[in-house]
Structure formats: structure tokens, C-alpha cells
């Protein structure tokens, strides 16, 4: 009898394991925390639904009044990722975005929520697109240690800024008024402005040099900002980071001792 019970118990466990397997892609894991879809849904309906909408398509009640528009989760295309262009984000990428917020948009920082709650939200957000069940995110991009910023590095960065055609959108002086700037739209067709590097404003996907380096590798999917993952090597990307940093603070090229690059 006891033996039979034991078998029944094992069988039940096996069945429940199989049962939970298809749903596993909808869970979320950040560090040691695991997210729960049900709890995430309750939090979403309390905090996120007004902008991102009941269907997660970014068409909530407040959406018409927002620019840029709230993210459409059904597309599973995200700006801020640690993964290459075209890949799904990691759970930790979505968690970071929820925590940090997106500067110069309607998306605030959700650090007031518990870490566990933010991980629960990640689990629920992933249910809006089947992509998270069909595909796996690629490995995160490598970020090697940063070499020191020198005038030479900044000068090389300035030349790459020309050669890589960054200036056609961001402008020759980095103010965001390049010849193509006015034509840019995001992937939903809404106008989108290139970043003004002289503004001193915070970057959307994080503030550090490492964040900027990562943005250059991954690109910001869903926007015109492409990946420079194969177009430049790591040293060149650091040069561009140093150059872009040098534009911050309204300094002129003369003050920075940069020779203007002829085109």
C-alpha cells in the first residue's frame, strides 16, 4: 500500500513537471529571483495598463498623449538590450529598463516597487508575445575594459563619427540635426529625433560609458539607430564613446582641440 502511494506520488510529480514545462518560457529569472506571471499581471493592471494597454500593445488610455509612444510588447522588439540586434532581450534587460525607466519619455523608474515585483512584471510582459516561447535570446554582447580617453582616442572617434555616417542623423556637431534627421521614424511610423549629444541629457539605456559602448554594439531595435557590432572593432567603439562624451557640455571643437573633419 505504502509502495503504491509512493509510485502514485512519483507519477503525480512527473505529470506536474511535464505540465509546467510549456509555461516555463513565460517565467522570468533575474539573479536569484524568479518571477510569477499571476502576480505580475496584478501589478501590470495596477501600474502599467494605462499606457501599455490591457493587451500590451502600447495602446493604453494615456498613449495618445505620449511621445515617444509606450512600448508594444506584442512585437517583442526592445530598445535597451544586452543582446545583438534582432535578438530577444534577456530577462535582466527588461528588469533593468523597468528599474531605470527611460529618460525623456513617459516611462518612469519603478525602483519604488520591490525587486521581486519588478521580476514578476518581467514574467507577465513576456506573455504578450509568443516570441519568448519560440525563440531564445542570443548571448549578451561582450564589453571589454575601457581604455583611457585621450585626445588621440577622441580624434579617432571624431573621424569614425564621420566615416560611419553617424553625422547624417546626429549632425556634424552632434546636435541631432543631420540631413537625414527629419526623415526618421520608429518602426511604428512615428517621427523620432536623433539624440543631441551636446545636451548633457541622460541616455535612454543607461548612463555609463559601458552602456554607451553596449548601445553601439546592440543598436536600439525598433528605432533607426543601427548596430555597429560588426562595423567597428572594440577599440574603435571606445574611440566613438570618448568622442561622444567630449561633445557633452557644449564645448566647441576648438576647446576640445579637435580638428574639424573635412567631408
Amino acid at each position: 500500500m505504502r509502495m503504491k502511494l509512493k509510485w502514485a506520488g512519483t507519477a503525480l510529480m512527473l505529470v506536474s513537471m511535464l505540465w509546467s514545462a510549456p509555461g516555463s518560457a513565460q517565467e522570468s529569472h533575474v539573479g536569484k529571483l524568479s518571477g510569477n506571471v499571476k502576480r505580475g499581471k496584478a501589478l501590470y493592471e495596477r501600474y502599467c495598463i494605462f499606457c501599455h494597454g490591457p493587451n500590451g500593445d502600447g495602446r493604453g488610455e494615456s498613449a495618445p498623449y505620449l511621445d515617444p509612444k509606450p512600448r508594444d510588447f506584442t512585437k517583442a522588439v526592445f530598445k535597451c538590450r544586452s543582446t545583438p540586434s534582432g535578438s530577444l532581450p534577456l530577462d535582466s534587460d527588461l528588469y533593468d529598463t523597468i528599474s531605470r525607466g527611460i529618460h525623456a519619455s513617459g516611462m518612469p523608474s519603478w525602483k519604488p516597487l520591490l525587486r521581486q515585483e519588478r521580476v514578476d512584471l518581467v514574467a507577465y510582459i513576456k506573455t504578450f508575445s509568443s516570441a519568448f516561447q519560440e525563440e531564445k535570446p542570443a548571448a549578451p554582447v561582450e564589453i571589454p575594459p575601457e581604455p583611457p580617453s585621450t585626445p588621440e582616442s577622441i580624434q579617432r572617434g571624431a573621424e569614425l563619427f564621420q566615416k560611419m555616417n553617424c553625422w547624417t542623423c546626429h549632425g556634424k556637431d552632434g546636435r541631432g540635426y543631420g540631413p537625414s534627421a527629419a526623415t526618421l521614424t520608429d518602426s511604428k511610423g512615428y517621427p523620432i529625433a536623433p539624440f543631441d549629444f551636446t545636451s548633457g541629457s541622460r541616455f535612454k539605456c543607461g548612463e555609463t560609458d559601458r552602456d554607451m559602448f553596449r548601445d553601439l554594439v546592440t543598436g536600439l531595435d525598433g528605432t533607426p539607430m543601427p548596430s555597429f557590432g560588426s562595423a567597428m572593432d572594440a577599440d574603435q567603439r571606445w574611440d566613438v564613446v570618448h568622442y561622444i562624451r567630449s561633445l557633452n557640455g557644449h564645448k566647441t571643437h576648438a576647446e576640445l582641440k579637435i580638428e574639424p573633419v573635412a567631408h
Binding site: 555616417n165 542623423c169 537625414s180 543598436g219 543601427p226 560588426s230
Partner: protein
């Protein structure tokens, strides 16, 4: 005599290898492959192509001694409409197709996409080539595939695939806003893009009854039903009006 033998042997070999090459995924031994062949015409006055101003990038402008023009309507001799995707949209009985080994090639040349409309199979490799001196970024905006956006300076190798059928994915270069093209992705090998005379041929079809669709980027889609017998070369024409 020897020469004649060699000739026969070579031609047999060519014929054999061709017949092996042209039966992707279809293994009906008794039935000779059929085809649908015809052209797409434009009736009426086609909108004129407009000049493209490439002056913002001198490296683009210098590739065109006479200014480049838009490619939304390319009407050739006798009203033949180029860049129309013609494909089987319904009626296939087999759905197991392996993508060809040969990659499709999309070239950026003179700051335009060559070809303007490209068709390939799902998971077939797509080689993207930048033949220009300037740096491009290639940015497809799909509905049913993953979106990506890659910078490509001259000389950089770039290979991509699309996993799912989609007709057709708009492609653009954000750096050069006039650069627009389309990539059509199919889960079967029965598709063609019309040439400059509007001609197309769907080759090596298994005999059957099919719905055939012609898609043009500005004019939309048209469909026709055809029944193709074994070994038959069925004529089929489409006419777009505006």
C-alpha cells in the same frame, strides 16, 4: 567520333544535373514538372519616376552621372511591369521544403538596392553586400520576422536569414532615406520576380490546381486560379491598372 561522344556525355550530364537541381522537395517520379509562364503588364499611364537627390552624401551622388530615379513603378517595353512578385499562394500539397544552399544576394550599389525587390526562401541565407564607398545601415521592418538594423561599411560581410514567410518586408537605410526596397520570404520555392519586361516563370511545379498571386509594392495583390497538367507550360498574364 570521340568528340561527338564527349558532347553527348556532357549534355547528358548537364541534363541530369539540371533535373536533379530542379526538383526541390518534390519527388513525383512519373510526372514531368510543369510550369506557369507569362508576364505582368501595366495598363494606362504609369506615374513618372522622380529624381532622387543624393547630394547629402557625395559618395552616393558621384555614382550617378545622370540622377538616379525612384523604382516604385518600373514599366518596360510594351507595358511590362518589373519588380512584381508572382507566387503560389494556395494549392500546394507538400509543405516540406529545404531552403537552397545557394544564398540570395542583396547589393547596395549607387546607394540603391539591387534588386529593388528580392524574393527568397525562409531560412535561405541572404548575403548583403555594400559595393559603395559610403557606410550604409540595412534595416528591415517586418511584421512576422525579427526586426534588426545593421551598419555596413564598404567591404564588411553580412549574412542574415528570415525564419518565417512574409510578403513583403520593407527594407530601408536610415542614413540614406531614399533607399527603399522589399524582401519577400516564402516557405516554398515557387515564386519569381518579374524582370524589366514584366516576364516571369514559375518552374518545376508539381501538376495541380493553384492560386497564383502577383504582388506589387504600390498596386497591391491580384490572384488567379490555374490548373497545370503534368509537363504542361501554362500561360498566365496579369494586368494592373491605376
Amino acid at each position: 567520333m570521340k568528340q561527338k561522344f564527349a558532347l553527348i556525355a556532357t549534355s547528358t550530364l548537364v541534363a541530369l544535373s539540371a533535373s536533379i537541381g530542379i526538383l526541390p522537395g518534390w519527388a513525383g517520379p512519373a510526372d514531368a514538372p510543369s510550369s506557369v509562364k507569362g508576364s505582368v503588364k501595366f495598363e494606362g499611364t504609369a506615374p513618372k519616376s522622380s529624381r532622387i537627390d543624393m547630394s547629402q552624401d557625395p559618395l552616393c551622388a558621384k555614382a550617378h552621372p545622370t540622377p538616379a530615379t525612384t523604382e516604385e513603378f518600373v514599366v518596360g517595353m510594351e507595358g511590362g511591369l518589373a519588380n512584381v512578385v508572382v507566387y503560389i499562394s494556395d494549392g500546394l500539397t507538400s509543405h516540406n521544403f529545404q531552403p537552397p544552399q545557394q544564398p540570395a544576394v542583396l547589393e547596395q550599389k549607387g546607394c540603391q538596392y539591387k534588386p529593388h525587390v528580392l524574393a527568397l526562401e525562409a531560412n535561405q541565407k541572404l548575403n548583403i553586400v555594400n559595393s559603395d564607398e559610403t557606410t550604409h545601415n540595412i534595416h528591415p521592418n517586418p511584421n512576422n520576422n525579427r526586426e534588426w538594423n545593421m551598419t555596413q561599411p564598404h567591404g564588411m560581410a553580412l549574412e542574415q536569414t528570415f525564419a518565417r514567410e512574409e510578403i513583403a518586408i520593407p527594407v530601408k537605410c536610415n542614413v540614406h532615406p531614399w533607399m527603399k526596397g522589399f524582401i519577400a520570404v516564402f516557405k516554398h520555392p515557387y515564386f519569381a520576380v518579374t524582370d524589366k519586361n514584366g516576364s516571369f516563370e514559375l518552374k518545376d511545379l508539381p501538376p495541380g490546381t493553384y492560386t497564383i498571386t502577383a504582388w506589387q509594392e504600390k498596386l497591391g495583390s491580384q490572384t488567379q486560379n490555374v490548373t497545370v497538367g503534368a509537363g504542361e507550360a501554362k500561360p498566365l498574364d496579369f494586368t494592373f491598372k491605376q
